[in-house]
Subunit: 328 residues, 2 copies
């Protein structure tokens, strides 16, 4: 018998839901603009609205469970939300318990970077590997870790906040309140901010000319048209991504690094610079670790969340078994 | 029936062996100066010499197996050594197979940072936790990761090379060949090098006066006697350790961080500065993670290696099971 699960990707901008089969195929999906200031009751009713629609559209399919990717930090061990920066009113809200009560199904929660890592591992660019690091580069930088065939969750299920490793002491301010974070240098936001700041000092670039907006798309387009400044900005971005990824390779020894998020749309242009940094800066035994583009695009987290609820994969969090024989 | 195992800590300076019981107690131990240039045959004969002596000293105890902590990088999955910087002639040597052949017992290999993490987790400062990061600060900086009740090994069993995350772009040169590594700033070597470089510019310190040697011990002693420069050096060291540890906390979300190695002898003096950095720089949800001193001192790796071979703990590496049901 084929099994199905509902995956939900709750984000600060949109809430998306999908009915996913055992092979990771999305059979149906729907989305809504997140009512980010509406509070948890309102956001949950959005989730149920989407899920009900999906179930009604495929009345012959009974989902085995529900997996939800949430913006962090959520304590996915207890299922209780902390203060979620992008969504109002969630601090202390018993997110998993409320979802389970209203769904009448088992619900697995996962912080969004980990959910996306699971999606890529099970069905995407990391399929068949036992150890991988997923890094998403968009407005911010997040991530998730798979080690030795298992999801790395850590305390409160919050592992994978790779965007907040400091890569420059007392460097650029980061939205997290710290300075010098990987995110503050290599996120899409940091990339375009740097471009805007420096474009004003340059006369040899088309970027910003005649008041045209400077965003990632414009920078990559200018670079393809031979703009030297745009190419410099991209080379620096690749170098900085390479620096953060090399750190993660030394710490975690993955077999592969998967890059997702908005900036991965330009992975073909960024890849050589990232790989070059690893080849020059990683210790010899780590130099061969490949970096690849996420295969599921914006659906890594949606499908990863569903995978948590698919029978037979055993991906959801379990408390650590402590055999009595080891107690002294 | 009580079980026993042999733990071996193979280092560039000394090779040590111990007979360890199920509670992590060392019943007997011995050591030898490593013949670092003697090649693998000679080093293995040193290991067997020590082990034979231990077994002969306790004829009633039959060890269940052998665990060996080795300086990296060793591919602990295949058991084949790469070029070990501190020991000559090991490149390509089938270390585990040769040890098993000559011991006639199952042998588990572990890179040294991971072995020490296992020791502290099973029997030391990390006992009872499911997720911990171990950081050793001595000549270099190494580490090991336990996540969700399991050892994190990664590709070739080489996870935990935390000393080689870059914390300053193009910064101080590191023995690994890269620049700006955590090790290049926060190891005991870096700490004393900084002291020596800067002591010559200072007239208000006892450090180096009358040609006295400047080493860690002298710096901490001077600090205790009120030397301002020595205290500054230590505060900077604690700050830098705090920076690297805060990175690891964000990436791995451990419940606790355990610090070992030579510099942990002065943990009481360093701790406040490390904890202060975490409290100021970690994201709020990560600020409460404690940093503690290793409990097993120089025996973390020795006992951790033995733990790999103790029945019932299931710590040794297993290939990841890939159930047929998941193959599509």
């Amino acid at each position: 018998m084929e099994h199905f699960a509902i995956g939900v990707d709750l984000g600060g901008t949109s809430v998306r839901a999908a009915l996913v089969d055992e092979r990771g195929n999305i059979l149906a999906q729907d989305e809504d603009e997140t009512d980010a200031t509406g509070g948890p009751e309102r956001v949950l009713s959005q989730i149920f609205g989407l899920a009900r629609g999906l179930i009604a559209s495929r009345p012959s399919l009974a989902p085995a469970g529900v997996g939800v990717s949430t913006p962090g930090p959520v304590d996915t061990i207890t299922g209780i939300a902390s203060d979620i920066p992008t969504l109002s009113g969630f601090a202390g809200f018993p997110l998993r318990a409320e979802l389970e009560r209203q769904f009448g199904l088992t619900v697995s929660l996962e912080n969004d970077g980990i959910a996306a890592a699971i999606g890529e591992w099970q069905f995407g660019a990391g399929k068949g590997y036992d150890s991988l690091v997923y890094v998403t580069v968009s407005t911010g930088i997040g991530g998730g870790i798979i080690a030795d065939g298992r999801v790395v969750r850590g305390r409160m299920g919050m592992a994978g906040h790779v965007g907040h490793m400091t890569i420059t002491p007392d460097g650029e301010p980061c939205p997290c309140g710290n300075r010098g974070c990987f995110e503050a240098y290599a996120s899409g936001t940091a990339f375009t901010r740097r471009a805007r700041q420096r474009a004003t000092e340059r006369t040899d670039t088309v970027l910003g000319r005649d008041g045209s907006p400077i965003n990632s798309r414009a920078i990559f387009r200018a670079a393809r048209d031979g703009d030297t400044f745009a190419n410099q900005l991209i080379d620096e971005e690749a170098e900085t991504l390479g620096r953060g990824i090399t750190n993660l390779i030394h710490i975690l020894s993955p077999e592969i690094v998967v890059m997702g998020g908005g900036l991965s749309n330009e992975f073909d242009r960024l890849h050589a610079g990232i790989a070059d940094h690893i080849a020059r800066r990683a210790m010899p035994a780590f130099r061969e670790v490949p970096v690849v583009r996420a295969a599921l695009g914006q659906n890594s987290g949606l499908v990863g969340a569903a995978a948590l609820a698919l029978p037979g994969r055993d991906l959801a969090f379990h408390p650590v078994a402590k055999p009595g024989v080891l107690e002294f």
